[in-house]
Point group: C2
């Protein structure tokens, strides 16, 4: 049974943020996200129909959640559980290396 | 919205392997597991009714999957997707520090 590593097979450069589905089963989707200096476009907010549990595994990021005064800095191991339709955006990710996330999308 | 870190709030000692449910929603369960030198009891095999996506985040472990010749060594970032009823056991975990896992249990 294959073992895969979340920190391997990272692309050399990441011109566009990379979303890779690892598991899709029924209504559950597990994905790896690789960022490098990416941010959500100005004015863009994620507004998702499913809950999302997301953990930052490598790198760092600044996450803004709608209705909160301050964006939050995420370091490796930090996770947040975002209920469906809780709008959020990524203000920035580490510009000097690859940020790796694991996201689990699941029904509310 | 609370941010929590998977590597923090680890118990000082781990006399019994620690299973902490982080999310339980419908039929999806996300848990953190903390091991320290633990192994599955002799002859014990996990035989689960749901699929399990499990990633080792810190430490190391040796995982035996039924029907495979060799157990596999897991290092940080390694993940494996175990279909329901695919029997498996943990032969060992790092005796010198805490091994942290993130497991997602979801319906087949």
């Amino acid at each position: 049974m294959g073992i895969t590593n979340l920190f391997r097979d990272l692309p050399e450069s990441v011109p566009e943020e990379l979303f890779q589905t690892l598991i899709e089963s029924g209504s559950v989707r597990i994905e790896r996200i690789v960022s490098e200096g990416h941010a959500s476009p100005p004015g863009f907010w994620y507004d998702q129909s499913m809950d999302e549990f997301v953990v930052l595994l490598q790198g760092s990021a600044v996450l803004q959640i709608e209705g909160e005064d301050q964006p939050q800095v995420l370091q490796p191991g930090d996770f947040v559980n975002l209920p469906a339709h809780r709008k959020h955006r990524v203000e920035s990710t580490d510009p000097h290396g690859k940020t790796v996330w694991l996201a689990i999308h699941y029904p509310s």
